[in-house]
Amino acid sequence: MEVPILKQGAVLIATFQAALSDADLNQLRMGLVQQVVKFRSRAVIVDVTAMDVMDSFASRTLREIAHMIRLRGAETVIVGIQPEVAFAMVQLGLTLEGVATALDLEEGLAYLNEKFKTTN
């Protein structure tokens, strides 16, 4: 399944679809990092608004994506986690520790703006 990745200046925006298989997630992991390299992006926003479940594999993959992207010197922000999904995740102990999160795309971009301002 193709996940649309949009480029907005130095930020890549990947919009996850509702039903991503483990294979899709694995492909995404490599794909996103390759795009970061190709476009020399400074940050990636992963929008999971459409995901109504988040299992441990998806959660782990998101953390790995963030770590790999950080090794390229770029920041990852996960946005759009739904209240019910967030609740279910923390009950399973999936807290996405170490990964930045924001309410939605708008907030994610605002967060990155602040971050870039202070680091410049």
Binding site: I78, V79, I81, Q82, P83, E84, A86, F87, M89, V90, Q91, T95, L96, T101, A102, L103, E107, Y111
Partner: protein
């Protein structure tokens, strides 16, 4: 179907009636004597001191519709309609403080009043009386049962509704500044309330686009391990929605509980009291509060 009776002092031979015919006959009798039987029933209700929460006029009005529904149920055997009627009646009288035993009581009184009137009418024909009662008894039992069940169901519905309302009331999520929510918790938190709290807060964060939440637990005396864990989960889940949580008002007992369960205090942002919590929240949001003049 004729029956030969050789030696009998009973009236001339009759054929056996069908049960439905008997029912129709007794329903007709109950309708004919409606005014008198209803009056008798109301007198019995007052004598037995039931429905004391209602006025005489109210009792009479309700008695009329109950009587008619009772007789109709006997006639049509439409017990669903009766159950709906019973629930409707309960909805009207429960707020007046009418108790279950009163409702069951008056239905049994009516049953008794009607049965006695049947005894009186058929007292000279014992066999017929038997057949009439055979038709009456099961239906009357079913009616009493249906009304009681309907009443209890309505009570349970009201209780559930009230419990839900209390739960909603006791955990308000308040917006005090843009992007800042306060959740003051008062009283006992059980696991169910804790869960409801978390769900309400997460929804509130999304609706109000909150970036900071202050959860004040000054009004909470104690929490058990389950609820303490739930608090930690609430903090973690809020972070997933991009909001920072500040917990204020921890009592010494609760502080002890949190340390005992090994809460990573690095993960939990705590401040002594609500005032301090709001001040920190404002700082996080980029506000600076400056006093311009003395209070008048």
């Amino acid at each position: 179907m004729a029956r030969r009776d050789v030696a009998s002092v009973s009236p001339p031979l009759k054929r056996m009636e069908e049960p439905s015919e008997l029912l129709r006959e007794l329903v007709a009798h109950l309708r004919q004597n409606r005014t008198q039987l209803r009056e008798e029933w109301v007198v019995r209700i007052t004598e037995t001191r039931l429905l004391t929460a209602m006025t005489k006029e109210e009792i009479f009005a309700e008695a009329t519709s109950v009587y008619d529904s009772y007789v109709e149920a006997l006639e049509t055997e439409a017990f669903e309609a009766l159950q709906a009627y019973a629930r409707n009646l309960s909805e009207r009288i429960i707020p007046r403080g009418v108790e279950t035993h009163e409702v069951v009581g008056i239905v049994l009184l009516l049953r008794d009043v009607l049965a006695r009137s049947l005894f009186a009418k058929y007292q000279n024909d014992f066999k017929k009386l038997n057949r009439i009662l055979d038709a009456y008894e099961p239906a009357a039992n079913r009616i009493a049962n249906t009304v009681a069940v309907g009443f209890v169901q309505e009570r349970e519905r009201v209780i559930r509704q009230q419990q839900e309302a209390i739960r909603e009331l006791s955990t308000p999520v308040l917006q005090v500044r843009e992007r800042l929510l306060i959740l003051p918790i008062i009283g006992v938190i059980d696991p169910q309330r804790a869960r409801q709290l978390t769900e309400q807060l997460l929804r509130g964060i999304r609706t109000n686009r909150a970036k900071v939440v202050v959860i004040d637990i000054t009004g909470v005396a104690a929490m058990d391990l389950t609820v303490a864990n739930n608090l930690v989960q609430t903090v973690e889940a809020s972070r997933l929605l991009g909001a920072t949580v500040i917990v204020t008002g921890l009592s010494p007992e609760i502080a002890q509980t949190l340390v005992t369960i090994g809460v990573d205090l690095g993960k939990m942002n705590t401040v002594g009291d609500l005032q301090g919590g709001i001040e920190q929240a404002e700082r996080l949001l980029g506000y600076k509060v400056e006093k311009l003049a003395e209070p008048r």
